[in-house]
Symmetry: C2
């Protein structure tokens, strides 16, 4: 049954929550006294509808219904999840919870988006404090996975676990913050950086742009994939985290910043950090972590390059200096259903021709799973390789467009598997056709071989069902 | 003429510099008294050789020569650039500069990788302080573009500008730090975050892993592309930066962190920040900035997804819950020369078949430039679209492999352009062949039309030169 989320307060954060729930198939009711609430929510929802589906290589569930309500009581009645994102005033939040609890189900989750208050603050003198907790997200809520989940002793552990499951089901990463602390975890870092930035600007050390460049061309790229400690663990070189702290820890007592209150680096604290880092990352050697970091950075930087943005734009500028001289005379089975993502478009503004090939490759992967030539099969050392594909491009395809592929198995005799694909727009327009020949191979010898009998049987059955010629 | 960089000190940073210079075609001499220096440098260089070329869609210049030297004097003699990356002890650095200046060219740049010292500290009582400055890079030096460039009044502005040009030529982003300040800019932020992290760990608020997750699933993704102020500018919504500061600035006086020394948010300071943010980002509306941010985040997250890493792994897990049920019964012209990047490999461990298509699409783009159907031509509303491609896969191709494409123009009559491509490994192994038909189109009518005469003439000439059949 479709679940319902009630969104109380539809600023940037509340509207982002509404989008996250709706696009994951929940029905959503919203309440905000702002007369502009409908327009503002629609704007956030439009951005989310465009971006979120692009993260996935298959379609999201059908969108839920959105209902703007005139009162809190109307919005929360019968809701499974109530998300409060009203301004950061404790008295206001407590008043909202009082009204919410008068009308909501006793088993509903009431989650606050507060970035500053502790859950015991907001539970306050509520009728049923056990159903109130903190679920603090990050802007844009519809794209960033992090949500800090903070509870108190009054919240039954099993209901906190259920709340975490719900957030995971929305594609988020619920970080269980174990200690109640003002501003939770992430915002304390943001606060420290923000304060340092304010000093630098006040003292004319750097401008906003210089500060942003110092972040996005450097440690920002590291933090998008590993965070602080795993990065430093690598910086410690082969000797790891302990070496890093011993080498760089003492710098903390230098007069580097205006903020001087520093914990003593006692042997106990050093042990604690090193042990935690071991538990977190010790399964991989420094070399393996470094390889992982580099691979991630390559992928992130290439992604930024396709957008001509930040560090990626720098790479493009540099690359322009590297090209050689180019003178003119020298020498229906539906196997895919998805949105075309932004990074698939080319300079003509339409889907790059190679991505048609990717869509047909994905279609063949779907057939592989259907006939049992799946990850387990590959682990057994068997797979199909494409040896030939012929693609005919029929119409342009654009980012954000929903597409699907119809596939027929034309031939499944022995080592051969011949597929015919048709890529279609939502309105049925034919976008491209392909005929693809795959050969069954042994991944050990890298040579053709007969498929396993059960795979051959399922391929034959699929050929029969989809119209073998 | 090939330039030479002398690297003094080959720890993680120095060896990273050596790799950056070498892979950009410089000759490199290195000196480090560590008996392990050769092995350690080789390890960093191996990682750099694997990763850096993957950032580019064309080949890097031929690698320079690497020479390990027994003395500083031998290393720096005749060098154009001397990069010092010895341990952070001022007396040691000054002693190194003394030796360096006894043997190096007077017009060489002597750059220090110091993360803490000001350039006037390290110039100290040097013979020629004017040739010494700070060029502080970030690990991994061969991938991250940021380098903080800090000079003093003693450095002639034109030589600082030349140093910046040299760094840009290495694919880096030289950030001119205008004020001499301990730890420059970026490390002050790292320091603030590090200190806050140490408190959290000491107080048992969070573990290293929880802290890393709080960073990489949230603001780390924002900072990889926009940094702090442009992100907050968006968070202010339609009212922008000023609104953000007015709304969130007061929170700074809350007892959020253990670090309490906070500048007064005077109207002057607010004006200053808002004005700087306007100068930096005011050319784009909040909606446009938001769109840009979302597109960048989509691209970064998709990149992390191909690596099954950090936030990308979360998306994959979530996506697994979204798939529908799949039951069993329903004359050589070289147009491309490049390394296969890590994000082009599939689950079989070889280059995904769609990327063969991308390589051939890139080969056709190269032909477009050669015949004058380039960006300017597209701006005039004319282009070629691929209507048909037939790819035959001959051999597996792997990440890190150098590939190239030989292209022939088979036919260039009227609206038609027919190309034949052969993708080859470095040793000449044939990896794939393709025949591709392009049709000349008007981008206004989206229909076929005759190419401009000069384009037709260049296409015909290229067909003649490459062996029209």
């Amino acid at each position: 049954m479709t679940r319902t989320a009630a969104i109380i307060g539809t600023g940037v954060i509340g509207a982002g929550w509404a989008a996250r729930f709706l696009l994951n198939g929940w029905n959503v009711t919203v309440f905000d006294p702002d007369p502009e609430a409908i327009r503002k929510t629609a704007a956030v929802l439009e951005a989310a509808r465009r971006a979120l589906p692009m993260l996935y290589d298959t379609a999201l569930p059908p969108e839920g219904s959105l209902t703007h309500c005139a009162t809190i009581s109307e919005a929360v009645e019968g809701a499974d999840w109530i998300q409060e994102s009203v301004p950061e005033r404790l008295a206001l939040k407590r008043k909202v919870y009082q009204t919410v609890q008068e009308h909501c189900r006793a088993d509903a989750v009431i989650a606050s988006s507060t970035s500053g208050f502790k859950p015991s603050d907001i539970q306050g003198c509520a009728t049923r404090p056990e159903q109130i907790l903190v679920a603090h997200p990050f802007n844009p809520v519809y794209l960033l996975p992090l949500v800090e989940l903070v509870a108190t002793d009054k919240n039954p552990p099993e209901s906190v676990a259920r709340a975490a499951d719900t957030l995971t089901g929305l594609g988020m990463f619920p970080l269980r913050v174990r200690a109640e602390i003002d501003a939770h975890i992430a915002d304390r870092f943001l606060e420290a950086v923000w304060r340092e930035a304010l000093w630098m600007i006040q003292d004319d050390i750097a401008t906003t742009q210089e500060i942003d460049n110092a972040i996005r061309y450097g440690f920002g790229l590291r933090w998008a994939q590993m965070g602080l400690f795993e990065t430093y663990r690598i910086a410690g070189g082969e000797a790891g985290m302990r070496h890093f702290i011993e080498q760089f820890g003492p710098c903390l007592s230098w007069p580097w910043t205006r903020l001087m209150d520093v914990p003593d680096l006692t042997p106990d604290l050093i042990d604690k950090i090193a042990d935690q880092s071991d538990a977190q990352s010790g399964a991989l050697s420094i070399r393996e972590l470094e390889r992982k970091r580099d691979d991630n950075l390559v992928a992130i930087l290439r992604a930024l390059k396709t957008r001509d943005a930040a560090a990626g734009a720098r790479i493009k500028t540099h690359e322009a200096t590297l090209w050689p001289e180019r003178t003119a005379t020298p020498a229906p089975l539906i196997t895919v259903r998805r949105t075309v993502p932004i990074d698939w478009t080319d300079y003509n503004g339409h889907m790059n021709e190679s991505r048609y090939g990717q869509v047909f490759s994905d279609a063949a992967d779907d057939v592989m799973i259907r006939i049992g030539a799946d990850a387990d099969y590959i682990a057994r050392g068997l797979s199909y390789f494409t040896v030939d594909i012929h693609i005919q491009f029929r119409a342009e395809t654009h980012a954000g467009q929903m597409i699907h592929v119809e596939t027929r198995v034309l031939e499944s005799a022995g080592k051969k598997l011949r597929l015919a694909h048709r890529m279609l727009a939502e309105d049925g327009t034919l976008l491209a056709e392909a005929e693809q020949l795959l050969i069954h191979v042994s991944l050990k010898t890298r040579r053709a071989c007969e498929p396993a009998p059960e795979v051959a049987a399922r391929a034959a059955a699929l050929a029969k069902a989809t119209g073998e010629s």
